[in-house]
Symmetry: C2
Subunit: 555 residues, 2 copies
């Protein structure tokens, strides 16, 4: 089979203006970025505010494994399949991060015959949203260090600065640095570091904001550090929000592209799922809901993290009411969850599969707690046997959940028609969506609820640092923010090696961090890497572009 | 009078597609970025390769002073004025750097009624060219540090790394840093630093490259450091050029915008004039020369730096043959050059003016050495008296150079009609353009030629470091590269306080740096700031954008 970039480069793309017009957008309501990308004005939401929303389908998955699940591929393929069976559907997904493309991670625009295009642009600079975030983030950092250098009128304690700098590049050497060395005009010496741009709180805030004014207010609340007497210092105190918002004036608008089958797709925002909520922007989803009848949106990692945050953080922030959930799984990944060796996944193994399917079952039980109807999409691989597929089907049906097979990677929309029909049917069922907890609950109790109900932990322990922070957070008035869990994506527990559906464990929260601008409190359960590194042979070394624009090595 | 951003926001812009079509571009040959910006394909140069070029006019100036000269304003105004008198003219200028906009520098898109628009976009992210450079530059830095971290197969000496990282932000705290701190996986500890993006060698290379293949070859030659046995290590050795070129695939194409009077303008590239050549890209100028009959391009700083580099580096690289030079001056700046106090520049002072006009005279004499006809454009201020204007006129006419008055700041193109007629006339004269020196001359001799002929120094001294480097440069085979002088812009000498036309001084070259990718050797005559800082009250603090998109505080 051809590589993703070969398939993408051979696609025939429609002019983006035609797609925009078919969606009912006027020339004033979109701005072309080249002939196949566009930004959609937020004025559309105002114009269509009385139009009923389409159906909202969340695409989530089992805990990710090295075997790969194909969540974005399924998401994109489902939107194409829905269009094939005569529905007006759109997918909304996250923008990929540029930096990791040069390390070892593939792009994040789907795969095979279920991609959004132009994939090479989407995986590189796209419409510049991430660069805008990098600029706004680093402007705030420069203003902060400059304020200390210029006499420190805000009494900021350089040892209590929490705002790092960011770059959209995998650069391990920048994780821990000392800045401000040199001569008297070269700033104040202190320890600091760079994180990857997607980890910026600005990214999380962008994806929850309803517009530029809301975003500016969120900037104003962002905590950059603390004074010598431990009072929070915000971006607002530094006079930064206006200039930051100016830098974000275009980035705040969702991006319109298309799938390989020319159906419209919106790609906007991409918060680092490790420490933020891992969903595309709410304005992207809101816009798609006004422009089409079925909207598939995606949540990062497994449903224990991605779906939980979507239901408990994103939907309340965006006023969204999901109608259905598609849980993506593969037989291979379930066998891995059941203890099968990674190298033997192509061999039939009903024992390992039976042991691993408990992971899927727990996710399905969890999703029922949010009151939204669900189905399982098995992303089919050639090595899957009928007996294996039957086993998964039986186990899910015992929970009242239908299983459909998806072959969109190899066949495009045609490989997802069964799935599309099942999704349409599912959306006819009543959804009784409700968040898992009340944000007004006590903060420790909110974390306990997530840990017990979703992870099936026996309880939550706060490390001494976290316990101190909990008191401070309540004292500073942030007690009513929702929780954003930062936990390994590989396990329901906080131990990445415990696959399947572990029991008999407790969750330890090491640290609590207020993201006042994004509007949540991050509960860190382990060391979270916020700046990836490059491998021994980086993907960059195999990349090229010729004079005629032919690209190789990008995936 | 209104502020620049007010004037710009009240302008009626024409759809960029209309302008592109009027220039004869097909839909395939330009890509819109929003409704008022576009990128022009380099395929245009191939299609029109047999079409005769238009006339090429260099816009340069006297040594810059705190009084301001308005070079970009004159450049933009002249293109509008030429169109008013019935000529097909375009301006090509540099892209402004985003970072400094938040410090204290105004934007660089002209001023008053002689601006290119949309100025707020041009002064912010524009079409993302600078972000692409930042990404490509920092990818190379990450690959370099990663190579050392992963066993250092290239035997790179961490103490001899010359490739910094870059950000488009004024951030003094990043000038001198220590990177690679932390744990065993966090890279190798070493001293390093960030420079501003415009100082990147990638910027200089972009502005001299003829296309993506040429740019990739330039990347391959870029020196990032030296081995333990002092051999140069290049980006090519690290396998970086393909991925870097991929990141630059859009940035390599010139940007089409318009003036306030809707005449087409090309803005592309903006090398840091302090250490590079300070001209827009050669592909921008070449494209404009194919699309119009008169092209005005601009050189950074005074003619001693900007024009010299344009004639000696840029024209040979781009195969350009300039037809005329416009030297921008103001009565105020000339009085400052003659010793007048900055606060008294609005008072008539023929003595100070007479003493200061020597600066202009020396530039005119110098320009004659390149064989290109010149005129002086006096950017008129309300305080200029007739006697003062007469004095400048007489002194220039004594050198056979015509003086015209420009009022484009206050009146737009209508304020530049005299200038436009004079420029048309000047272009009818024969140009005998030739570079000042032969690149095959010995390197010290090339520097001597520039210092004696242009600066009027008595000679050039090499500091011990520079002398050692000179030997190494010749041994490494870089002796035939042209020279790029890094000297204070405020004086012909290397002492910024010596205004006018100083005599009786020598130039000391402290360091010689090979920019093998850009294709020149930088001769540093003093400490050059490569990363600006923010002032006590940064411009950012006064900036804002409202929900309806109204921008304040950007200049």
């Amino acid at each position: 089979m051809k590589s993703d970039v070969e398939i993408a480069q051979q696609a025939t793309l429609r002019p983006i203006g035609e797609l925009a017009e078919e969606l009912g957008l006027s020339t004033d309501e979109y701005e072309p970025y080249g002939h196949t990308k566009a930004k959609i004005s937020l004025a559309v939401l105002e114009r269509l505010k009385d139009k009923p929303d389409g159906k909202l389908i969340l695409c989530t998955g089992i805990n990710p494994t090295a075997a790969g699940e194909g969540k974005t591929t399924t998401n994109v393929g489902l939107s194409m399949a829905l269009n094939r069976i005569g529905k007006r559907a759109m997918t909304t997904i996250r923008e990929p991060s540029l930096g990791p493309s040069f390390g070892m991670k593939g792009g994040a625009a789907g795969g095979g015959y279920a991609q959004v295009v132009p994939m090479e642009d989407i995986n590189l600079h796209f419409t510049g949203d991430f660069h805008a975030i990098t600029s706004a983030h680093n402007l705030l950092a420069a203003l902060l260090d400059n304020s200390i250098h210029q006499g420190n009128p805000l009494n900021i304690n350089p040892k209590r600065i929490t705002w790092p700098r960011v770059l959209d590049m995998n650069d391990r050497a920048l994780r821990n640095i000392v800045i401000g060395l040199g001569k008297v005009g070269d700033g104040v010496v202190r320890e600091s570091g760079f994180e990857i741009t997607v980890a910026s709180e600005i990214m999380a805030a962008l994806c929850l904001a309803t517009g530029i004014e809301d975003l500016k207010e969120r900037f104003g609340r962002m905590i950059v550090g603390y004074t010598y007497d431990k009072k929070p210092v915000t971006a607002g105190d530094l006079g930064a929000p206006g200039a930051m918002a100016l830098l974000m004036k275009d980035a705040v608008r969702p991006n319109l592209v298309q799938t390989l089958e020319n159906t419209p797709a919106i790609i906007h925002g991409g918060p680092f799922a490790n420490i933020a909520h891992g969903n595309n922007s709410v304005v992207a989803t809101q816009t798609a809901l006004k422009l089409s009848d079925y909207v598939i949106t995606e949540a990062g990692f497994g449903a224990d993290l991605g779906a939980e945050k979507f239901f408990d953080i994103v939907c309340p922030a965006g006023g969204l009411t999901p109608d259905a959930v598609v849980v993506v799984a593969t037989v291979r990944a379930l066998k891995l969850n059941g203890g099968k060796d990674k190298k033997e996944l192509t061999n039939e193994d009903l024992f390992a599969l039976g042991a691993g399917v408990v992971n899927l079952e727990q996710h399905l039980e969890n999703l029922a707690k949010f009151g939204v109807p669900a189905l399982v999409a098995l992303n089919r691989f050639p090595s899957d046997t009928d007996a294996e597929l039957d086993l998964v089907r039986q186990r899910c049906e015992a929970l009242g959940v239908k299983v459909v097979l998806s072959e969109v990677f190899a066949k495009g929309g045609a490989g997802g028609e069964d799935m599309a029909h099942a999704v349409v049917e599912l959306c006819e069922q009543e959804s009784n969506y409700a968040p898992l907890y009340d944000v007004e609950d006590e903060m420790h109790a909110k974390i306990e609820t997530i840990a017990r109900e979703i992870y099936r932990a026996d309880g939550v322990d706060l490390a001494p640092t976290a316990a101190t922070q909990l008191g401070q957070i309540k004292a500073d008035g942030y007690g009513s923010l929702p929780i954003c869990m930062a936990k390994t994506q590989y396990s329901f527990s906080d131990d990445p090696t415990r696959l399947g559906a572990p029991r008999g464990f407790r969750i330890t929260v090491r640290e609590l961090v207020v993201n006042a601008g994004a509007g949540f409190v991050v509960a860190l359960t382990g060391d979270i890497m916020r700046m990836p590194g490059l491998p021994r042979v980086p993907a960059a070394v195999g990349m090229d572009i010729s004079d005629d624009g032919t690209i190789t090595g990008l995936s």
